[in-house]
């Protein structure tokens, strides 16, 4: 069967469009058809009632921007016809997590409080994707303000379904990004990762997701959650596409002082350099983890899902066959602080960032009469925010208020140093381990059912257990698909690397793809695509 345009990798599409084999409009038409076939009803703010086919569909897009994409496609086609360079992402459809501002489109953060907000400007990474010839097909769903690991907290319902089994969550918070890419509604998506919000849904949805180094990609135009942790990054179906997308979005930005002024390597060049001589670590501290018991809620030491561990070890074997040196028993003794530290630092930063929503400058305003300004704030925020933002604001207030502060914030900042020092030690070129990267599972479990965890904010947070240390340390990480569990659900493995060395992670991920390209599991397609021509 001929591969549909919607299932082709971005780098193949862009090349074919540049060569005139396909037009950008043709590719866009295919994307729109795919969206019509798999989306189901559009998520909205209306009171949600489950309908029969909701659990068969993806529901990734809060806003479709077909007209915007159409204009971009026509521009690309014109350039090709005139013999001009149409850009690295010429004619590649992409989606944008609805936490980025895109001019003249609703930029909602999946919250009632911003549902009517139309951004007067465009975020830098989105701008760069469009300038490179990408087709911006729309804004995709997420957990409200990115606060969650399942997409269920969005104010826009029905919740996103996992394309491999739409009765399960796609992960989060970039769940709409991962689902839209997995279902072929677009080739690429722009996500954000604060505790694992790119890598965890990528793992759950069987796609590639990269959290670049803190500062590698500009946050200008990103609606802020936790400013010391947030990183925009690519979601793609293969490593080459993630490399291509990162190449486009990374780099200094005069609008963001935290965007590093380092040169951006051409990640796609030398991508197939291989792993010969690379030192790749495995750590028991990522296999045996302290995790709440789903029944009692108590924190207990327990192994990650055995099938996931098996896929990590399988990946290590394949990489060893490809010439890598696997170094076992790497100590990462402070991994277990990741979630507790996150409960403190991210909440303090979230409370601070969310104080700007006041019903005065933009966004939702309580429609009734009020006596005075403070009441307007309380009512607008009370009605505009969902439960998860409220929970984060209150926790942030508690752990930072002088009268309650039990040193938690000070302790968290020190524990963060310890987490960082774990990585410094294993990467130290003069040290005992001298690793190029660490190989771990992306998540302790595969995708859970919609409704199974949501509501239990502690258990939900622990879905980020294996991804959050990289955010505290600022280092880059990539999740790549590595097989399936016995329920046919995707398993992701994660490579964690040195500061600003995304290159090695992409090369290692690519080496893993090449080493496993003939394995049977790579032929399996998501459930929502079965029966489509």
């Amino acid at each position: 069967m001929k591969q549909s345009l919607s299932d082709m990798p971005a780098h193949v599409l862009a090349r074919a469009i540049r060569n005139g084999e396909y037009s950008a409009e043709e590719v866009l038409d295919a994307a729109i058809n795919r969206i019509r076939a798999v989306e189901g009803r559009q998520p909205s703010l209306e009171q949600y009632e489950l309908q029969p086919d909701d659990r068969d569909k993806v529901h990734a897009f809060i806003t479709l921007t077909e007209e915007r994409a159409r204009k971009q496609a026509q521009k690309v086609d014109r350039k090709v016809a005139e013999g001009k360079d149409p850009g690295k992402l010429a004619g590649v459809p992409f989606s944008v997590k609805d936490i980025f501002c895109v001019q003249d489109t609703p930029s909602t953060a999946a919250s009632r409080i911003l549902a009517n907000f139309s951004s007067p400007y465009t975020a830098t990474p989105v701008q760069r994707l469009e300038t490179a010839g990408g087709l911006n097909v729309g804004k995709v769903n997420l957990d409200e303000f990115t606060y969650g690991s399942s997409n269920e907290s969005s104010a826009f319902q029905p919740p996103v379904g996992n394309p491999w089994d739409p009765s399960r969550v796609p992960g989060g918070s970039s769940g709409g990004s991962a689902a839209s890419v997995a279902a072929g509604e677009c080739a690429l998506s722009l996500g954000t990762d604060t505790a694992g919000s790119i890598r965890q849904p990528a793992g759950f949805c069987g796609v590639v997701g990269m959290k670049p180094t803190y500062g590698r990609v500009s946050r200008y135009g990103l609606i802020a959650f936790a400013s010391s942790l947030d990183c925009p990054g690519p979601v793609a179906r293969d490593v080459t596409d993630a490399a291509l997308m990162l190449e486009v979005i990374a780099g200094a930005d005069r609008h963001d002082a935290t965007a590093a002024v380092l040169d951006v390597p051409e990640y796609t060049a030398g991508l197939e350099r291989g792993v010969k001589g690379k030192r790749i670590g495995l750590s028991d501290d990522y296999f045996m983890v302290k995790y709440p018991d789903p029944e009692t809620g108590e924190l207990v030491e327990q192994p990650i899902q055995p099938e996931i561990r098996e896929r990590v070890l399988h990946a290590a074997d394949r990489l060893a066959d490809a010439g890598a040196e696997i170094v076992e028993q790497i100590p990462m003794p402070h991994t277990h602080y990741g979630i507790p530290v996150y409960f403190v630092i991210s909440r303090v930063e979230a409370a601070s960032n969310l104080h700007r929503y006041d019903g005065v400058k933009y966004g939702y305003r309580h429609p009734g009469q009020v006596e005075e300004l403070a009441e307007l704030y309380r009512k607008s925020r009370g009605e505009g925010f969902g439960l998860q933002p409220k929970l984060r604001i209150l926790m942030g207030m508690y752990v930072s208020a002088a009268q309650y502060e039990k040193n938690y914030y000070q302790q968290a900042l020190r524990a963060r140093t310890l987490i960082r020092s774990d990585f410094d030690k294993i990467y130290d070129p003069e040290g005992e381990y001298r690793l190029d990267c660490l190989l771990t599972a992306t998540t302790p479990t595969t995708a859970f059912e919609i409704g199974q965890v949501y509501g239990d904010s502690v258990l939900m947070q622990y879905a980020d257990l294996l991804t959050v240390p990289a955010n505290h340390a600022g280092i880059p990480g990539i999740s790549v698909p590595a097989g399936f569990d016995s329920n046919g659900l995707p398993i992701g493995i994660q490579f964690l690397g040195h500061d600003f060395d995304e290159q090695t992670l992409l090369q290692t991920g690519r080496a893993f793809e090449l080493a496993t390209e003939n394995e049977d599991w790579r032929q399996v397609k998501p459930a929502v695509l079965r029966g489509l021509s």
Partner: protein, 106 residues
């Protein structure tokens, strides 16, 4: 430090957060906050008086990666109307807010 967020503390937090909650929401939020605190208590093993330094950004923000300071110059945004259009209540280009009651500062 086996502390708990009591009803009274909770009310104060809600006030600081400028939120208005219904009873059902409040009950859920208080329960979850105390659940999260249980996990946070793992940090009590960290001695704040020790010589472990604090980290506020994982990646050191060095001169090598930091953009150079530049002159502080006004650059007008091309389309201020687009910004003002977002405001829920505007009169003669002013944002309209309800009364701000006079309070004595202590």
């Amino acid at each position: 430090m086996a502390d708990e967020i009591t009803q009274e503390i909770f009310q104060h937090l809600v006030d600081l957060a400028a939120l208005e909650l219904d009873a059902e929401e409040a009950e859920y939020l208080l329960k979850e906050l105390n659940g999260q605190l249980k996990a946070v208590r793992e940090l009590e093993a960290i001695d704040v008086d020790s010589n472990i330094e604090t980290t506020s950004h994982g990646v050191p923000y060095t001169e090598k990666i930091r953009p150079a300071l530049r002159e502080d110059r006004i650059e007008a945004f091309g389309n201020p109307e687009a910004i003002m259009e977002q405001a829920p209540d505007v009169e003669d280009n002013y944002l309209v807010v309800p009364v701000i009651p006079h309070t004595e500062l202590e």
